[in-house]
Amino acid sequence: MQPFQFHEKVELFRKVLYIFLFFNTLILLPAAHDLFAYYGTVGTRGWNTELSFFEQGSYGLLNLLSHPINARFEWLYILFIGGQLVALVLGFFNKMPRLMSFAVYFFTVNLFSKGYLAFTGGEVLINFMLFYLMFIHPSRQKEGLGSDLQPIVNHVFFRIMLVQVCLLYFFSVLYKLLDENWVSGEAIMYVSRFDAYSTSWMQSALENNTILSVILTYTTLTYQALFPIVVWFKKMKKPFLMFGVVFHLGIAVGMGIFTFGIVMILVYLLFIDQESVNKIARKLRLERFIESV
């Protein structure tokens, strides 16, 4: 089995994702009670009290903040936020990386599940990425620990992450093509009429501009449809992903769907070449944290 040659890339992605999650949680602190508390305005996801905790299977483990015990101890969500922040910091500095990758996933998935009604596909994608990252680690054979299975596991889960992103784009465009307003090119015009998904400048430019809407709607559809194909061609990939960064910044700032827009940009790190990985790591001054792995 060939050694896993994408460690720097995955570790850069992991570090940047941890930094983003850390600041994202800080940004959400003023709304933490609304989102994560048992009696927050978002409410709970519900809990089937007729089944025991163990009978709930993995669903129970992912929805601990919806368990009725949180009604009595409403502060429990603060432990999850604290736990997530501590795990992110320790994970960033490579302290107990395997345990911390599990802890980051556990706390994050529970927080995001609880606040589901205020979140988007961005949080869902973060959950998946954190899950897959739990399995990607350096081989411990040199330390006399573990078996030579680790490189195989790394290869598999690295590819699963890439496939996951492609599936996201594939289904995103497929569902849109089934809707008449997307096919007619008017979708972005209608979306711009929602106060929650636009700004005043976006509204004035788009809310009655069919031509601009058709251009933007079809640009969106074309980009999303081409992504699962173009991203495997080295020469076309770079300018394509750069366009994608601008596209997702538009979603993050223009539509105000911040987490989704930024997370989509972050996952592009998994698709870029080693040279660009080194360049970005140097620019962000993350080299030493990555090398120490």
Partner: protein, 175 residues
């Protein structure tokens, strides 16, 4: 092999239900759900119903309070990006989405309001979500909640048509 299996399972699970037999989806569901639960139908179908939620809350002492829980949040969100207002705005939009899912007749071209008398509104998902929201709002603002009346003013952004949906009174048993 595992990579192929995982990809195929996700593909079947996330595929539009109209084109993938339920029996096939059922085969992969135990593997995919809940850890890899996904659909990716973001903004599809295109959202067409916007709206505003109004709550009239009555306290245990009989005081009344009129609240528009999302208007300030959305106004803040339109000015300040990258703050918690964004997530709270999405909460408001999702509530409107569930309200419209419950009360709009999606089989008609102009998306008319269903006959509300024919619907047990207090058994809908939107009623439950709004009730939780009202209770959470009151708790967070130390308002001793006894009763809530919630109205949603819906607007079709495509046709401009407006509809008012008044939910049945929500009452809490307070000692």
């Amino acid at each position: 092999m595992f990579l192929v299996f995982h990809t195929v399972a996700l593909f079947i699970y996330a595929f539009p239900s109209e084109y993938m037999p339920t029996s096939v989806k059922r085969l992969v569901s135990p593997y995919v759900y809940p850890i890899f639960d996904q659909k990716w139908s973001m903004f599809a179908p295109c959202p067409l119903i916007d709206g505003e939620i109004k709550m009239v809350l009555t306290s245990t002492e009989g005081d009344e309070l009129e609240v528009y829980p999302f208007s300030d949040i959305i106004n803040e969100h339109r000015v300040w990006r990258m703050t918690h207002h964004g997530d709270l705005s999405i909460h408001g939009s999702n509530l409107i989405h569930w309200v419209s899912t419950d009360v709009i007749d999606w089989s008609t071209d102009d998306l008319q309001l269903m006959d509300l008398k024919a619907i047990e509104l207090n058994e809908t998902l939107s009623y439950i979500l709004l009730k939780r929201m009202a209770y959470g709002w009151a708790k967070q603002n130390d308002f001793p909640l006894k009763k809530a009346e919630i109205e949603c003013q819906l607007k079709n952004v495509k046709t401009g048509a407006e509809h008012l949906v008044a939910y049945p009174k929500m009452i809490w048993n307070v000692e």
